[in-house]
């Protein structure tokens, strides 16, 4: 039965259901319960934004609060995964990759290949991504392209509660290391979410709006900006395909190429910085494989090549807007 759930609740439900289903699943991270060692309540926080609230008491011994030691606990999750467990480690903010990246990209990502196929590392690293929270340069980045660059990693970034639940369940069941990116500005957004467990396969993009004039390809929070832009464009008689990639590695090239071959116009929207981004990656693929279909140069709408600023006045113009997306689509139409 479906009910309205926020993305925060949907992620919590996915973790809850997977822990109930599989005893090898456990979760770990900083303050994911909270209150350890003090005189007050346990599960005082349930994660810094309350995503894991309630799981501590429901799954005794399987919700592990860690010291502030990202290298040690992310590495321990990876080591435990290599020993047959299915840990979900919460990195809190993906920006903290800087203090544990070796464990992710030199260890987890490479075990399968480097050990001749004999190792499997079914670990999930959950982390918040994205700007708009007034959290400034070290708590707001969209670092997805850094992870898609690394062979051996899978990268997921849902845009809504329904996808978040199904993609997280798939991530936990997947036998490869998965970086699961949760946009902090989507935690409160509600959609219909079935109560029962379900998995959404990777590399299956979601066409969230149909149109024959142009293709907008994006993921995460930007799906909502793209939909706003597409609504505005429709009023001007321009109809867009809006493609929510959902998983960035692996990526559903077929859906992107099929759409561009039909519309002939492409705008890639990415909250990441522009160089070597998901947007530039999709642009390059389409230029390579569907060049003859293109009626205009490819448009890209991304964050600027700057860190994320703090001041709301600056952060608001850092994040790609519906107006910018709409303008980019119109440029591909010579308008």
């Amino acid at each position: 039965m479906a009910r309205k759930l926020s993305m925060r609740q949907a992620i919590n439900e996915a973790l809850d259901q997977e822990m109930a289903r599989d005893p090898t699943v456990f979760i770990m991270g900083e303050d994911i319960a909270g209150g350890q060692g003090g005189q007050g309540e346990l599960d005082a926080w349930g994660g810094p934004l309350g995503v894991t609230k309630g799981l501590y008491h429901k799954h005794p011994g399987r919700v592990l609060d860690t010291p502030l030691s990202e290298s040690a606990f992310v590495g321990a999750a990876i080591g435990a995964a290599a020993c047959g467990m299915r840990p979900v480690a919460e990195l809190m903010f993906l920006d903290f990759m800087g203090v544990c990246f070796d464990q992710i990209f030199n260890q987890a990502a490479k075990f399968k290949y480097m050990f001749g196929g004999k190792a499997e590392t079914p670990v999930v690293v959950r982390a918040m991504v994205g700007a708009g929270f007034r959290a400034a340069a070290q708590h707001s980045q969209m670092l997805t392209p850094i992870f898609t660059h690394i062979p051996g990693l899978k990268v997921v970034c849902p845009s809504n509660a329904y996808d978040a639940k199904g993609l997280l369940i798939q991530s936990i069941r997947d036998n490869d290391p998965v970086i699961f990116c949760e946009h902090k500005n989507l935690y409160g957004v509600e959609t219909e979410v079935p109560e029962e467990s379900y998995a959404i396969p990777f590399a299956e993009a979601n066409v969230v709006r149909d149109g024959d004039d142009a293709t907008i390809v994006t993921y995460g929070l930007m799906v909502h900006r793209a939909m706003d832009a597409a609504d505005a464009l429709a009023k001007k008689g321009i109809e867009c395909d809006v493609i929510d990639l959902r998983t960035l590695s692996p990526i559903d090239w077929d859906t992107v190429l099929d759409s561009v071959e039909r519309t002939g116009r492409l705008v890639c929207v990415d909250e990441a910085n522009p160089r070597c981004s998901i947007a530039s990656d999709v642009s390059a693929k389409v230029a390579q494989d569907a060049f003859k279909s293109l009626k205009a140069g490819i448009g890209m709408v991304t964050a600027p090549h700057t860190p994320v600023p703090f001041s709301p006045a600056l952060e608001d113009i850092y994040i790609p807007s519906a107006a910018q997306i709409s303008e980019a689509v119109q440029r591909t139409m010579g308008k």
Partner: protein
């Protein structure tokens, strides 16, 4: 035959000797082959350090996991990884332990509890915590062993892992193989504390230092800390003071060593010679029994080298396989 004064049966003593001799033969063969240009890439040899890996690993079974270092051949052999597949791996062949895709710095065999040599110094410590965590979670009595050198004992990953293991009371042993040099830099320059026992104490776990060239000292102390970890007593740090017979990597001229230093350690601190003298002088084994093992170890390595050299390289299609389980 004299009464055996050692903590191991004669059979086990000969096993230990065989493991150490096999490691020594393996490493000396690599030294020779590397000098001839037969081996691609970097090779870091464990010769001189055999007593530490052997003395520790004799307490372990396949369910116990070790996270090794860039100097990992000895750990692999002592943990039971097949010597032929190791040699083939180092020669970059398809029959290698990692199908030729890992090389010397990444030999692994998870079925033996060998979680991999590691090209990133200190990176194995969190992984060993994960092994300990998995064992504790399952309640299977297994332990995780993290190896670092004196150099990597300064890495944040190692120091964070000491704290994590202590906080979670994990069945993990942190072995510091102190051979006196981090690459070319002396331990006394780069490690701020005089004693690793003090460093362990600073993280809230017991530490103990042993003469890593003394097999029996390693064996007995490792036995105590591993037993404690298995019984829920938590992590420990074990420092083995040892010597490195070759350079940091093959090709290293070792200009940083003092005059006569290498000659001295080879003459007076060779852990295999010291072990052999002890067990022969005690009258428990005969020189003839050891010589037989010497010949067998040499033969094994000869066969492994011949196998590795004649084995085919990986097929070009191997470039693209095993990146993911599914993609």
């Amino acid at each position: 035959m004299a009464k055996n004064p050692f903590p191991l049966s004669k059979e086990k003593l000969l096993d230990a000797y065989r493991t150490m001799r096999t490691i020594r033969e393996f490493e000396e063969r690599l030294h020779t082959e590397f000098a001839k240009g037969e081996i691609p890439g970097f090779v870091h040899l464990y010769a001189g350090e055999e007593a530490a890996g052997t003395g520790i690993m004799m307490h372990l079974t396949d369910k116990d996991r070790i996270a090794s270092t860039h100097r990992g051949h000895g750990h692999c052999i002592a943990k039971g990884v097949d010597v032929k597949s190791m040699m083939a791996e180092i020669f970059g062949k398809a029959a290698g332990a990692c199908r030729g895709k890992g090389g010397s710095m990444h030999i692994a065999d998870l079925s033996k509890g060998m979680m991999g040599a590691n090209g990133i110094l200190g990176a194995g410590a969190p992984l060993a915590c994960g092994a300990g965590l998995a064992a504790k979670y399952r309640g299977d009595g297994g332990v995780g062993i993290s190896f670092v050198g004196d150099g990597a004992s300064n890495q944040g990953t190692f120091l964070e892992s000491l704290n994590l293991a202590a906080v979670w009371n994990l069945p993990v042993i942190f072995v510091v193989e102190n051979n006196g040099y981090a690459e070319s830099t002396h331990r006394d320059y780069a490690v701020a504390v005089d004693s690793y026992v003090d460093r362990a104490a600073g993280f809230g776990l017991p530490g103990v230092t042993v003469d890593g060239t003394d097999f029996f000292a390693v064996y007995e102390t490792a036995g105590e800390v591993i037993k404690r970890a298995r019984e829920g007593g938590g992590p420990s740090l074990l420092e083995c003071k040892m010597v490195r017979f070759y350079g940091h990597f093959e090709g290293d001229q070792q200009l940083y060593r003092g005059k006569g230093e290498l000659e001295d350690i080879r003459a007076n601190r060779d852990c295999i010679k010291l072990f052999a003298s002890r067990i022969v002088e005690a009258g428990v084994v005969t020189p003839k029994e050891l010589e037989k093992i010497d010949r067998e170890a040499a033969q094994l390595i000869e066969e492994a080298a011949a196998f590795a050299k004649s084995a085919p390289p990986p097929a070009p299609a191997e470039l693209l396989t095993d990146v993911y389980v599914s993609y």
